[in-house]
Symmetry: C3
Subunit: 249 residues, 3 copies
């Protein structure tokens, strides 16, 4: 049984402790790192990583997602069972984009630490789930997960208005604008307003077609429109951090 780990622990040893806990409880688990480089404390980024990676895993995979700036406070810990997978972690918006939710459990379990629920709460439960426990054994059912406030991208007149969902590791600015909502031809130039900046950008099939430092837009691997620079960082050029309003016309 696969247990994936997604955290903002970065160049930290703490993920090692989580793995030790999991293997001690469930030796047959297969612990797979998705990423430990979610930007620190960045829930938007965590939600995007969950959206863009977890659906590719086999049915039944257990996804442990710990980006947890509120550790020790009253934020809830939850287990979310969807049609195909199980997710667990702090209920802070990391699970905003989950669909096909079948059941949500609020974790009722003490922790020996106040500062590391990844090791002391979520890793042990993930391991027990991998070894056959039912989610209902860890708490009571609740009805909702906390969601980030992200508006849907909308058509307004001749333009599409959305926002920067997050910045990926290459500096590409991933928007919440699905490719279907725009009707662009390859090579077409559009006007893009992002934050306070207005630019022209060509719509290209992939990063590699961009010339030098040109800003391009393309459809990223999750089906969203991205602002990108070939072999460069669009977010560095444009000073983006995520959350900025985007208008494409």
């Amino acid at each position: 049984m696969i247990i994936t780990l997604t955290t903002d622990f970065g160049d930290s040893e703490y993920v090692g402790a989580m793995k030790g806990v999991i293997y001690s409880i469930c030796p047959k688990a297969n612990v797979v790192d998705i990423s430990h480089w979610v930007r620190k404390f960045d829930i938007r980024h965590a939600a995007y990583v969950v959206l863009s990676t977890t659906p590719y895993f086999p049915r039944g995979t257990i996804h442990c997602v710990v980006v947890d700036p509120g550790v020790g406070t009253e934020r809830r810990g939850i287990i979310v069972k969807t049609k195909e997978h199980i997710y667990l972690g702090p209920d802070n918006g990391s699970f905003s984009f989950l669909t096909d939710i079948r059941k949500i459990i609020e974790i009722q379990q003490g922790s020996k630490s106040m500062t590391f629920h990844g090791r002391d709460v979520f890793a042990p439960i993930a391991a027990k789930l991998a070894c056959g426990y039912e989610i209902e054994e860890f708490g009571e059912e609740i009805k909702d997960v906390k969601k980030l406030e992200i508006k849907k991208a909308l058509k307004e007149g001749g333009a599409v208005v959305g926002e920067v969902l997050c910045i990926d590791a290459f500096g590409n600015a991933i928007t919440n604008i699905c490719s279907e909502i725009l009707n662009l031809g390859i090579g077409e130039t559009v006007k893009v307003t992002v934050g306070k900046k207005k630019l022209d950008a060509r719509f290209l099939e992939s990063y590699g077609f961009g010339d030098g430092e040109e800003l391009i837009i393309t459809v990223g691997s999750s089906g969203f429109l991205e602002l990108a620079v070939n072999k460069g960082s669009a977010s560095a050029v444009l000073g983006l951090k995520g959350g900025e309003k985007v208008v494409v016309r």
Copy 2:
């Protein structure tokens, strides 16, 4: 059988070569990364990672710890068998905090490289141990491991005097002061001297309770007192690197 890897190889390919060596010798091994982001050449940090992560692994786990600024020189390579685990790596202080030591072997084995004993000495031995070799097959017994000079935290008058053990990836300054030696109430403000700086800090249950840029102290996940800033880096704010004297009163 689990073999864990802890190194300072960071964003380096060298860990890949170690994994290849291990799987070539012992295909059934389960190689688990603890961290490759020990600060380069930082033995104190290596020792803390060993202390804070390896005890969580199952009985019998083999821990290969290679933070090795002295590679190729006369520093010894050792295997340490404790009550529950086996450790191996350069004998440079990385194993300072091991307890319940049952046997220490000085590795007597040549290396085809002078620059990469991780690949050419420690990985092959770890793999052989995982496949059933006894530690005695790799050298002669010795009596001691090299230890870092870290004084015990002590009560002096109304204060507790210790030092910064190391800085973690979030910038928290982990001290060698156990929570039991202090007798603090939640929310209490104490006077902290660290290096040349004097500050007030509230004792809080966890990082998340800190307001903005406030310095707090809390009990970290290994039971030691930490200096921390909520969603920030205490070590950056205070200019700490590890080793500084800490006085709490």
Copy 3:
């Protein structure tokens, strides 16, 4: 069956999606990270990582190497079968140093994304190969892989002339000069010209013998001459990026 991953995805979640795809197709695969910290878009570095790590893996290992600045353009995807291993990835020079090549297949397979062939082309094929498919099922045979233009190191008069192959994670500058071509004694001082700089350097057995900030040369773990600084970064000191001419006399 082991599938290794080598990418320049760095602190990115995209490698998680590749792992999900692989485990969904071939649950019994053992996915092993070699490195995701190839310098972004740096084919020279990718080629060196392939050279210095993949030979250590067991016979039959499948190596998926995705450093792919040309993704979506007309660059080919290939599978290379060597005497012992199978490699696949974009045909951009990453496989320059492979030897004992037995067969090369140009991948003929569509991709649902234009921007992420690692997930949509290479990961699925790697998984299928691990589960028993033959390489011939993915395209037609071709005769050559694309190679980086790297001259062989040569003796010229009393000197050896080569170039900096790449910079490793410790800042060591790895040259293409094999240790056999030079005939140096331990402790001997040689004159090194690298790029526009001329320096004296001692030839030492390993990094750890260097004094403080002294530039040394040593034989690295792949048998090539390296410029190094003990506990420091030679490439930072010398301003090297890879590709610079090196003369040792």
